[in-house]
């Protein structure tokens, strides 16, 4: 039956649909092939590792962003959550790696809680609610850190950012586990189904008796927690807590990764693997441009064009429906 349906579809629609579904993977393949041809030493183990390690913070933040966007929301405060987590680390690293990391996560959860209460309980629009915390959160992080850069020298903590098991860096492993958890959360749990339903139609979700407020609250808590993890890993990689710059503009990269990965801004869908691919694609493009000494200026312009193209292709999907 599904076969006849496919045949019955107009040809153009299938082509467009194919690009919508697999465009980001296709783009990754193209970038890889191009690099195979023009970039020496691109496919070395070292370079692959470097690329993976570099994509980790944006990727982890993008996972939470995908959830927020899935509810037809957005989370601009992720950079502030990262900064706050980073600011707290040097204060508590004396108690050990795990307690310090947990306290850092708890602090970023506070930002998520503030977002969640404003959005879910009071009903403020996500973009302004998280904008206010984006501004205030970084200020708080700077105050907590006493407005200075502090180096973190705990070897166990640094291993989190620089260590590896065999060929696999710890940070990449953590990111992989988080991707798996979020993927299962979205596709296999009640919460995931409710989140997608809420994003599809809030009114319908309310009428169906879904716990709309709780879903929204948990979504923004998750987004902040994931950003906190990214902040901890970023700090471990730098070997220093830099709340003034860590996570600056990460919200833009994360949103881009999510959208390029095929999750529509209008909510009702969360594509976790697409988000991973989106983050990887952006990283690969940046790396390619850097390796060929293309200036930052043109790589930003290239990113802008890619965002527009990705969203333009998706718009086709909305029209079909």
């Amino acid at each position: 039956m599904s076969q006849t349906l496919t045949v019955a579809l107009p040809r153009r629609a299938t082509v467009v649909g194919f690009f919508q579904r697999y465009g980001v993977y296709l783009a990754i393949v193209i970038v890889l092939v191009v690099n195979l041809a023009v970039t020496p030493n691109f496919f070395t183990l070292d370079n692959v590792r470097v690329q993976l390690v570099q994509v980790v913070p944006v990727l982890i933040v993008a996972l939470g962003m995908a959830l927020a966007i899935g509810t037809e929301g957005i989370d601009l405060s992720v950079g502030a959550s990262m900064a706050l987590a980073a600011a707290v680390i040097p204060l508590y690293i004396g108690y050990g790696v795990v307690p310090a990391a947990l306290i850092a996560l708890a602090c970023s959860l506070l930002i998520g809680l503030a977002n969640g209460v404003m959005i879910a309980v009071i009903g403020v629009q996500p973009i302004v609610a998280t904008l206010s915390l984006m501004v205030a959160g970084r200020g708080i992080a700077l105050l907590v850190a006493g407005e200075q850069l502090r180096s973190v020298t705990d070897p166990g903590f640094l291993a989190l950012g620089r260590g590896a098991i065999g060929p696999l860096p710890w940070s990449v492993l953590i990111a992989a586990v988080l991707v798996a958890i979020v993927a299962v959360l979205v596709s296999r749990t009640t919460f995931g189904k409710q989140l997608v339903a809420l994003g599809g139609s809030r009114r319908a979700a309310e009428l169906a008796g879904l716990p709309v407020r709780r879903i929204l609250l948990v979504t923004y808590l998750l987004s902040a927690a994931l950003a906190g993890v990214a902040g901890v890993i970023g700090t471990a990689r730098l070997g220093a807590s830099v709340p003034s710059t860590l996570g600056n503009l990460v919200e833009l990269s994360a949103i881009t990764a999510v959208v390029v990965g095929g999750t529509p801004l209008s909510g009702g869908q969360v594509r976790v693997i697409g988000t991973v691919a989106g983050a990887l694609l952006l990283q690969l493009i940046t790396a390619t441009l850097v390796k060929h000494d293309v200036s930052d200026a043109y790589s930003q312009i290239a990113q802008a064009v890619i965002i527009l193209l990705a969203v333009y292709i998706q718009r086709g999907r909305a029209v079909q429906r």
Binding site: V128, L131, R138, G139, L143, S295, Q300, L308
Partner: protein, 331 residues
């Protein structure tokens, strides 16, 4: 907006008053808080109410206010323009380059380029049907890239060579610099257009209900195209005036300016969903942000982090109040 909702049922006079009060608070809330802050600031800090300090506040506000005027128009249609910070920087850099051809070149070059950028973004939003957030996010990245490309990766800072252009930024009358008057003119012209012209009413209608506007036969696409162009012009003008004021086009200015502008517009009582708001509110919102910054500087021991916390917290309080008030009106 909701007063004529037939589902609301008969309203008692107490309800009517509460609604009216909520509406007033939403429109004039920022202005009232501003007056309170000015009074408290004057009492607490003797250096605050001096003529030179107030003139300083006016100058600092003027650039953000010009950007805010354009942003208000965009937000009134239910859209958003994240590219203004980058366009502001571009405006400054181009004004400095253009000043080689005199005052005309220094003003025309940034304005023409920003008109083109605004038109492109507006066309993609209006005719391409893409979300304004994404289109202008791409604009934020792309235009900043353009600025970097023009200035050798942001390493060179072109200087304003034309004395007339510098005079436009630094000169003035009655202790106030020209940018202040230009900003006030922008508010005045914008308000008249918004409230008294067909196009301005169309902006409010599109933001109020886009589908209804289409059914009424309003040129929705043209309205959207226009507001993004206006926003681009405003950002470019503000950038050019900043360059005139500082005698140089600094390529790294304006990062995060879009967020300040959005904050000011929202604090001024303009709803982010569109259809409701005004430029007087935006003026109050901009002044509030600048006065908060100035007061924190007066304290002396406080830093820009405290300022960030206060500004962010203030925005949160305002949007929470707005949401609660809007709910009161709906009842």
């Amino acid at each position: 907006m909701t007063a004529i909702d037939p589902a609301a049922g008969p309203s008692t006079s107490a309800q009517v008053w509460r609604e009216r009060l909520a509406g007033l608070a939403q429109t004039y809330g920022a202005a009232v808080v501003l007056v309170v802050l000015l009074v408290v600031g004057s009492i607490a800090f003797p250096a605050f109410p001096t003529a030179s300090n107030l003139a300083n506040i006016a100058t600092q506000s003027s650039f953000l206010l010009i950007v805010g005027v354009g942003m208000t128009f965009v937000i009134l249609t239910g859209g958003i323009d994240l590219s203004v910070g980058s366009q502001y920087a571009l405006g400054g850099v181009l004004a400095a380059y253009g000043s080689a051809w005199g005052l005309g070149g220094g003003l025309l070059l940034p304005l023409v380029v920003c008109v083109v950028i605004g038109l492109v973004q507006g066309a993609i939003v209006a005719y391409g049907g893409l979300a304004p957030f994404i289109v202008t996010l791409a604009g934020l990245l792309g235009v900043r890239g353009l600025v970097l490309a023009l200035t050798g990766g942001g390493s060179s800072t072109p200087l304003v060579t034309d004395p007339a252009l510098s005079a436009l930024g630094q000169g003035g009358v009655a202790g106030l610099r020209w940018p202040v008057f230009i900003a006030l003119a922008a508010v005045l012209v914008g308000s008249v257009l918004l409230l008294r012209s067909r196009g301005g009413q169309a902006v409010l209608a599109v933001g109020g209900s886009e589908s209804a506007s289409v059914l009424m036969g309003l040129p929705v696409a043209r309205v959207k195209l226009t507001v993004y162009t206006v926003s681009g012009v405003c950002a470019g003008l503000a950038g050019a005036l900043t360059a005139a004021y500082t005698s140089s086009g600094v390529p790294t200015v304006g990062v995060g300016l879009e967020l300040s502008a959005i904050s000011a517009v929202v604090i001024g009582g303009t709803l982010l969903v569109g259809g409701r708001g005004n430029l007087v509110g935006t003026t109050a919102g901009v002044l509030l942000l600048t006065v908060i910054q100035n007061l924190i500087n007066q304290v002396g021991s406080l830093t820009s982090s405290v300022q960030a916390v206060v500004s962010g917290g203030f925005l949160a309080v305002v949007v929470i109040l707005q949401t609660v008030l809007a709910r009161t009106q709906r009842l």
